[in-house]
Amino acid sequence: MAKSMLIISRQAPWSGPGAREALDIVLAGGAYDLPVGLLFLDDGVFQLLPEQNAKALQQRDLTANLKALSMFGVEDIYACGTSLAERGILQEAVDEDIIQLPQSAEIAALIDRYDHVITI
């Protein structure tokens, strides 16, 4: 059986290539039917805010890629509740398909479940 992989994305959407790279790994894994999970941690949760205006920075919008994850068979998408709360992002502001993990112990258990972890 293919080994499972958890990608932890902890960079804000416009701070550099990190956010896009993390998403690319997830999409590539999904395209090959690998069991892939995605966790948004720290500034990575800023990627979850709707209505970002990528054109202002002459970049492409990442939120469209986020929406495409389910088409690639990636259903296990998580967000760290502490990171959201620290940044004043309300639970309701985040898409309901994204599983919010309020307890750090839940995230430790999540990391534990996967065979590989990549933090970007």
């Binding site: 941690l41 750090s104 972890v117 990549i118 933090t119």
Partner: protein, 98 residues
């Protein structure tokens, strides 16, 4: 499953160490290399947080300690590169905080 968390950034400039410690599982370990070794600076919050983990949880690369003329406290395991390889095998997986 156990995870070895590898940190290489200074704990004084970003939140990697803080987040890592928050998410650390009971069987996990932390390996400090590069600027992450500054976490072992005396009388600092990162040092206290690491010490609170208890024995055999924290590892540091010897050459990065030496390069900074630092001394590792006795509760920290100082390892060389073969030791790094051995640790990577001992833990089920390695999570490098890039």
């Amino acid at each position: 499953m156990s995870t070895l968390h590898v940190l290489s950034h200074s704990p004084f400039t970003d939140s990697r160490l803080t987040s890592c410690l928050r998410l650390l599982g009971p069987a996990d370990g932390v390996l400090l290399c590069g600027d992450a070794t500054y976490a072992l600076t005396d009388s600092t919050a990162p040092l206290e947080a690491l010490q609170a983990l208890g024995a055999n949880k924290v590892f540091v690369l010897e050459e990065d300690i030496q390069a900074r003329s630092m001394a590792a406290p006795d509760w920290v395991n100082v390892i060389d590169y073969p030791g790094f390889v051995e640790l990577s095998i001992r833990f089920d997986k390695v999570n490098t905080w890039l």
